[in-house]
């Protein structure tokens, strides 16, 4: 028994250099087979549910026939792509994806930074904790629930916002938050900010905690007031976090979730609210044009991959740790 244990520990800890090369090559599997056994299920998962669908991308280049399957269908080059580009819905969906993401970034990016700085300056601990609990809450709700609430709250006449504004006499007729294109884009952006602002503070708060306290002391001794401390110590202290998150969001411009535009959208605002993810659903699932929908998805993935690689490259150029 003891001999066996000794043999095992010797195998595990012996560096490759200390053993004759040949012996090492035959022993590593005997030593680590349990680790490989553990990997079987996760690797099987990746192969079946991630890499096998990647093979399915080839139907983007086919005249796909579900009966013949992707191995039997005829290849037609880039025809699906050119067809999709010619669809009247494609350009608006592409534009809306970029535009709504841009609006979300413009309105949503600064809010968590400001909130985090304010929360950090707050001295009442209990009050701060309760506020944070409330601020994080929207992040835990599904977009279906949020969408349902939005439809209630922003409804014309019966919705609480319109009802209150009418009652107070601030407006004469209800604002079409959900039925007029530009208004809808405003509502969409506002709800996005509402959902993510609290959760977004977490990373900034932990970055602020990482700032050396002596810097604040030094600033105080130099006569800096609170605003000057925030401007000259806090903000520079979280600058790299801000930069990395900003660049990453720019890298995600082509990606848009499905749930939010799908649940908030309605036929009246199609021209303003249709995005690539909902477009793919309409073409691919509702109309069952699998090849065309796959082509849109591939186009989106490739542009997204280029954007995120550029973002990663930029982050590294700035001397920060990249995402890969």
């Amino acid at each position: 028994m003891i001999q066996k244990v000794q043999e095992y520990t010797r195998r595990v800890f012996m560096t490759a250099g200390a053993l004759p090369r040949k012996k090492v090559r035959t022993k590593w599997f005997a030593r680590d087979w349990r680790l490989y056994l553990m990997l079987v299920l996760p690797v099987a998962f990746y192969l079946i549910f991630c890499y096998k669908p990647m093979l399915g991308i080839m139907i983007a280049f086919q005249k796909y026939n579900p009966v013949k399957g992707m191995w039997g269908s005829q290849f037609i080059g880039l025809k699906n792509f050119t067809d999709v580009m010619r669809l009247s819905d494609f350009k608006p969906a592409l534009f809306n994806t970029l535009w709504l993401n841009f609006l979300g970034l413009l309105a949503g990016f600064p809010v968590p930074i400001i909130l985090a700085i304010m929360l950090n300056e707050l001295k009442a601990i209990r009050f701060k904790k309760v506020s944070q609990t409330l601020l994080y809450l929207p992040h835990f709700l599904s977009w279906i629930i949020i969408g349902g609430m939005v439809l209630q709250i922003f409804a014309p006449k019966t919705g609480v916002i319109n009802a209150l504004l009418l009652k107070w006499g601030w407006i004469d007729k209800s604002i079409p938050f959900l039925t007029d294109g530009p208004h809808w884009q405003f509502t969409y952006t506002l709800v996005g900010v509402w959902q993510s602002m609290g959760w977004g503070t977490i990373l900034y708060l932990s970055a602020i905690t990482g700032i050396n306290m002596e810097l604040f002391e030094a600033a105080k001794i130099d006569g800096a007031n609170k605003m000057q401390q925030i401007w000259h110590v806090t903000l520079p202290g979280i600058r790299s976090t801000i930069a990395v998150l900003l660049i990453l969001s720019v890298g995600q411009m082509m990606n848009i979730s499905f749930d939010r535009p799908f649940i908030l959208g309605n036929p009246q605002v199609r021209d303003y609210g249709d995005v690539l993810s909902t477009f793919v659903y309409r073409i691919g699932i509702e109309k069952a044009q699998y090849a065309r929908a796959t082509a849109i998805g591939l186009f989106q993935s490739l542009v997204g991959l280029i954007l995120i690689s550029t973002a990663n490259f930029t982050i590294k150029k700035l001397g920060e740790e990249g995402i890969w």
Binding site: Y8, T9, W28, D32, R34, L35, M38, L39, L41, P42, F45, Y46, I48, F49, C50, Y51, P53, L55, G56, I57, L115, M118, K123, A124, I125, F127, S131, L134, L135, Y136, L137, F140, L141, S142, W143, I144, I145, G148, M149, L151, Q152, I153, K157, T158, G159, A163, W194, G198, W199, I202, L203, K226, I263, Y281, I285, A293, T294, L298, I323, W324
Partner: protein, 309 residues
């Protein structure tokens, strides 16, 4: 704890402890209060709507307190057998999915922390690549069709079982544990499975709890997979899909009645106005009940993930 340590220096100097509520602090607290109350008010409104009478809602009289209080909407929901069944189905799916997900995540994260493992870089890349490139929704959908999972509960469980992001969180947590523990266990005769079960897992309970919650909440809230994969079988519709259908049908009926003008009264009596808010509250309640207790685990998960995102 923190309050005590904050008080200490002032007491030590012998000054009277000053109140923290200076004017700037009050203004600051007020602004933060506005932000946080903005996160709460929508719920209060929807809750008030769900407990109000139809005529009060149609008048636009309900804001943050029920008008002409009634609980009929909840009675309708609790008498709707399909709603209750969907609730239990969603709980079942969430539990099974979370269990599978955790097993896979641990089984992948643990070997990948072992520097001695041959092919570690390859397995790592295999996992990481899926974060940045995927087949896209339609090939994923066709894959599920191909595997014969459409309209089965497995379509909601299997395809998204493993999140690479969560795996990275666990991996960085495992890596941070002192590896002398493993060496000691191996000297005591433990093999890799035993080291994992008796050393790593007991020491990572906090991280494991965090990931369990990430998976569970993600599944509870997921909607797209149900919309894509549950095409005809009503009994396999999770709560989110049911909620979506409820929202859609009442939105449609309102639209139709608004367009056609006539028949509006008829439709309005059919779909009571408080059902939709009550359904929203019904499907939010499970989250709201556990949320205050588990919130801190989520926060720790985000910060661990950021260290090596």
């Amino acid at each position: 704890m923190t309050e005590k340590t904050m008080k200490m220096p002032a007491a030590g100097i012998g000054k009277k402890r000053k109140s923290i509520w200076t004017l700037p602090q009050i203004i600051l607290a007020f602004v933060i209060f506005l932000f946080s109350i903005a996160c709460l008010l929508p719920f209060v409104n929807v809750l008030a709507l769900s407990l109000s009478s139809k005529s009060a809602i149609l008048r636009g009289a309900v804001s943050f307190w029920p008008v002409e209080f009634e609980t009929t909407a909840y009675q309708v929901i609790f008498n709707d057998a399909s709603m209750i069944r969907s609730l239990f189905f969603t709980i079942l799916i969430t539990v099974v999915y979370t269990l599978f997900s955790m097993i896979l995540t641990i089984l992948l994260a643990y070997p990948l922390t072992k520097k001695r493992l041959r092919g570690r870089k390859f397995f790592n890349l295999l996992a990481l690549f899926t974060m940045y490139f995927s087949g896209g929704t339609i090939p994923l959908f066709l894959n599920v069709v191909d595997l014969g999972l459409i309209d089965t509960p497995w379509a909601l469980i299997l395809p998204g079982m493993l999140s690479t992001y969560n795996m990275i969180i666990l991996k960085s947590f495992f890596t941070a544990l002192p590896h002398e523990l493993e060496e000691a266990a191996i000297i005591d005769g433990a093999n890799d499975f035993q080291v994992l079960m008796r050393v790593y897992i007991p020491l990572s309970l906090a991280a494991l709890a965090t990931l369990t919650l990430f998976y569970a909440v993600g599944k509870w809230n997921s909607f797209q997979d149900a919309l894509y994969y549950i095409r005809t079988k009503k009994e396999y519709q999770p709560l989110q899909l049911k909620l979506y259908n409820a929202i859609q049908s009442s939105a449609k009926s309102a639209e139709i009645s608004a367009q056609e003008g006539m028949g509006a009264v008829e439709l309005a009596t059919k779909t009571s106005e408080s059902i939709r808010p009550a359904t929203i509250i019904f499907s939010t309640l499970p989250i709201l009940v556990v949320y205050p207790f588990v919130q801190r685990y989520f926060v720790s998960g985000v910060t661990i993930g950021a260290v090596k995102g």
